[in-house]
Structure formats: structure tokens, C-alpha cells
């Protein structure tokens, strides 16, 4: 094992880690912005919009992220209309394709999580708010949504780890993320283990930090739901 090669190339892994972290974080952020209204519409079963969102969610949750990424990155370039359009400078770039695909994917999973969380908010909480004279909009923004987001924390924590792990496919379309750095190292020195083992260790460390962070958040924000002994 030549882990000295990893040490010599630590900058490449650090840059890869930064790429993975920011790509994952941005995708989650954009996905969340899609999911909050979409989840609310699904929970309220608003006509026309709700079935449309359901199709979006079903399509993105029912297919592999890799296929979605290939469809956007390789697929869209097939059409001349896309290549001639103003969006081409963006859609040509592997990074933007990955960001768009990951955001849509995370948005679909998060929509389901938020819908489920909204549906588990007890009716009593909302009736209490209403009886205090809050307007329907205030009930939504001050009671329903904050309460639902707290309840969504455990599943959303899983989604964050899922997105982190899903983001490895970015390396397939030439993005230098953690796995990209590992593959480059292996190819450069003709070795089989070191790059992948380093990548695995980095992903595992980030996963553990995230799991720990969400456990702390749950302890703080779900305190009122814990059964006291």
C-alpha cells in the first residue's frame, strides 16, 4: 500500500472534498426550495397541481440518479434547439448538469418527506392556533410549517446522507469530487486500492459528521415529542 502517494496528493483530495460538499449542499438547498411548496400542495391535494407534482415525484424517485444525470448531460445535447439556445453555456457544463439533476432529485424525495410530515402534524395544534385568532396564513407560517419541519428532521437527515452518497455519480461525468480525486490518483500511479480507500474514508467521515449533527438537531428540536420517563 502506498499511502504516501495519498499524502503527496492531499490537495487534490481536499479540493475533491470541497466539490462534493458544496455540490451536495447546493443541491439540497435548491431541492428544499422546490420541496416546501410542492409538499404543501401535495398535502393539501390542490387540484391540477397536486397530480402534476405526483408525476414529478414518482418519476424521480422511481429511476436511478445516474440515468437522470445521463439524460440531462448527454441527452439534452442531442437537440439542436438546446445547443442553439441561450441555456447552452450552462447545459454544456458537467457541473451545472449535475447541480440541476441532483436538485430535482433531492426535491422529489424531500417533497414526499415534507408531505408526510405535514400530514402528521396533529389537528389540535392547528385548531389551537386558529382559536387564538391567527389568520390561515399565520397558522401556516407560524405553526404548521415549523411543526412539520421539526417532525421531518429524522427522515430529512437520511435524505442528506442519501444525497451525499448519490453525488458520487458526478465523478462519472468528469467532475473532480472525492471519488474523482480517488480515480485520478489510481490512474496516475497505476494502483488499485489507495485512491478508492481514501475516498471511502472521506465519505465515511462526512457521513458520520452529518449523522451526529442531525442527532443533535433532533435532540434540540424534537425534545417536546420525546416520551419522558
Amino acid at each position: 500500500m502506498r499511502f504516501d502517494l495519498v499524502a503527496d496528493n492531499w490537495v487534490m483530495f481536499a479540493e475533491g472534498a470541497w466539490m462534493t460538499v458544496q455540490l451536495t449542499a447546493l443541491s439540497l438547498l435548491i431541492g428544499f426550495c422546490i420541496a416546501l411548496p410542492a409538499g404543501l400542495i401535495r398535502a393539501r391535494r390542490i387540484r391540477i397541481l397536486s397530480p402534476l407534482i405526483n408525476i414529478y415525484v414518482y418519476a424521480f424517485r422511481g429511476t436511478p440518479l445516474l440515468v437522470q444525470l445521463f439524460l440531462v448531460y448527454y441527452g439534452l445535447s442531442q437537440f439542436e434547439a438546446v445547443r442553439d439556445s441561450f441555456a447552452w453555456p450552462v447545459l454544456r457544463e458537467a457541473y451545472w448538469c449535475a447541480l440541476i439533476t441532483f436538485s430535482l432529485n433531492s426535491g422529489a424525495y424531500a417533497t414526499e418527506i415534507i408531505r408526510g410530515a405535514i400530514e402528521t402534524v396533529p389537528k389540535g395544534e392547528l385548531e389551537a392556533a386558529k382559536s387564538l385568532g391567527l389568520s390561515p396564513r399565520k397558522v401556516d407560517f407560524l405553526v404548521l410549517i415549523p411543526s412539520a419541519l421539526r417532525r421531518a428532521l429524522p427522515q430529512y437527515g437520511n435524505e442528506v446522507v442519501f444525497m451525499l452518497h448519490g453525488s458520487v455519480v458526478a465523478s462519472v461525468i468528469t467532475i473532480q469530487d472525492i471519488l474523482g480525486a480517488g480515480r485520478t490518483l489510481n490512474a496516475r500511479y497505476y494502483i488499485a486500492y489507495e485512491g478508492f480507500l481514501t475516498a471511502a474514508a472521506l465519505y465515511m467521515s462526512i457521513t458520520f459528521v452529518l449523522v451526529f449533527a442531525f442527532r443533535m438537531l433532533e435532540r434540540r428540536y424534537l425534545r417536546h415529542l420525546r416520551v419522558s420517563h
Binding site: Y58, A59, G62, T63, P64, L65, L66, V67, Q68, F70, L71, Y74, G75, L76, S77, Q78, F79, V161, L164, H165, G166, S167, V168, V169, S171, V172, L179, G182, R183, N186, A192, Y193, F196, L197, A199, A200, Y203, M204, T207, F208
Partner: protein
């Protein structure tokens, strides 16, 4: 579109590779999950810690990283060992490397599924069966297993749905599955969108069919409401 029709037999053969890969992986994952759950529930300290390391390790590392590690690392290992015996260059099968990797990954998830299902069985039932003088094997067959199936099915269905999507990344080590073949064919006829759209629809179909099969199974193995009769 004509290109897609022309390539259809090839793509369908790829779909068959994807499905067999998923099914073999599921079998391996089920065996590993059953072993893991047994180890965690009734093993000694050593068995418990081995299973603990296994499940934490797998849940911390992305599937593609493990697949690459098993395929390229396994290839190197096989030939180092082969060299000791003066063997010729051995080529590791992409298909079986994929089955090994995916089965290994989802075995960890099934360990938790089976363990959770076993723990939902009220221990009093097993004690009662023993008190009636039933042999351990018949306790297993008539009390434990039927309930285990019904409690584990929803989790098992979830793992399967994630597993089948996970097979797509095996194409990255060059396996000629649905995704790999569509990638090559779509690029050579310059219609990648149409070919990947087809793959997209095929996966939706897999998801849809498996959903229905599991819904049927859950109904079939549902415990006949013994609780609400009380």
C-alpha cells in the same frame, strides 16, 4: 426513433442483465442479512462486533465506491494470489463483481430490517410455544418465520426498490447492462436522449411492477387480525 427500434433486442437483453443482476444481488443480500441479524440477535461479542462494523461501514460509503473497490481491488488481489500458483492472468467477471458488491451493500440494510422485524415478535409467544413442548424447529416454522415475513416485508420491499436502482452504477465498471448498452448505442447513433429516455421508462416500469408484486405479497402474508378479536 427507428434507431431505437433497431436496437430494441439489444437493449432488452441489457434489461435482462439488469434484472438478473438485481435478483442475484437480492439473494446474496438476503443471506447476508439473515446471517447478520442472527449474529446481532444471538451471537457472542465477536459476532456482534463483526456485524456492527459491517453495517456501519456499508452505510458510510457510497455504493459506487464499494463497487469500484471490489472490482478493481478484487481484480488485483485475485492476480496476486494467482501469481503464487503461477496461474495466468485471471479476469474478474464484471457481473459477479457487481452481484458481490450490491449484495454486500444491501445485506447490511437487510440485517437491520430482519433484526427489527424479529424484535417486533412478542417474546411471550415464543415462550408459550416452548411451554407447550414444541421443538425449536417447529417454533421457528410455525411461530417465528410466518410473523417475521409479515413484519419484514415493507422494509424488504423498500430495500429492493433502492437495490434495483443501484444496479445502474454497475455499468460504470463496463458491465453491458441496460444503462451500459444504451450509453454505447445512444452515442453511436447520436440519439442519447431517446436511448436514455427509454432506460428511464424501463426503470419506472421495474419500480411499478415491483410495487405491485410487493403490495400483493403484503396482503397475502398479512397476519389475520388476531389482536382485534380480543
Amino acid at each position: 426513433m427507428e434507431n431505437l427500434i433497431e436496437y430494441m433486442p439489444l437493449l432488452l437483453s441489457g434489461a435482462l442483465v439488469t434484472i438478473t443482476l438485481a435478483l442475484f444481488s437480492l439473494v446474496l443480500a438476503t443471506v447476508l442479512g439473515a446471517l447478520g441479524a442472527t449474529g446481532k440477535l444471538s451471537g457472542g461479542i465477536i459476532a456482534k462486533s463483526i456485524v456492527g462494523v459491517y453495517t456501519t461501514l456499508v452505510r458510510g460509503v457510497p455504493d459506487l465506491v464499494l463497487i469500484l473497490l471490489i472490482y478493481f481491488g478484487g481484480q488485483r488481489l485475485l492476480n496476486i494470489v494467482g501469481n503464487w500458483f503461477d496461474a495466468d492472468y485471471i479476469e474478474l467477471s464484471k457481473f459477479w463483481a457487481g452481484v458481490g458488491a450490491i449484495g454486500f451493500i444491501y445485506g447490511a440494510y437487510l440485517t437491520e430490517t430482519f433484526r427489527g422485524a424479529y424484535m417486533t415478535i412478542p417474546p411471550g409467544q415464543i415462550d408459550a410455544a416452548k411451554a407447550l413442548g414444541m421443538r425449536p424447529i417447529s417454533v421457528l416454522r410455525t411461530v417465528t418465520i410466518p410473523q417475521l415475513i409479515s413484519f419484514a416485508l415493507p422494509g424488504y420491499a423498500n430495500v429492493w426498490q433502492v437495490l434495483i436502482k443501484s444496479t445502474a452504477v454497475v455499468s460504470i465498471i463496463g458491465l453491458e447492462d441496460l444503462v451500459g448498452l444504451a450509453n454505447d448505442a445512444g452515442k453511436s447513433v447520436r440519439e442519447p436522449f431517446i436511448f436514455f429516455a427509454f432506460v428511464f421508462c424501463m426503470y419506472l416500469l421495474f419500480t411499478f411492477i415491483s410495487q405491485n408484486i410487493f403490495m400483493y405479497a403484503e396482503r397475502k402474508y398479512a397476519l389475520k387480525g388476531h389482536d382485534d378479536a380480543v
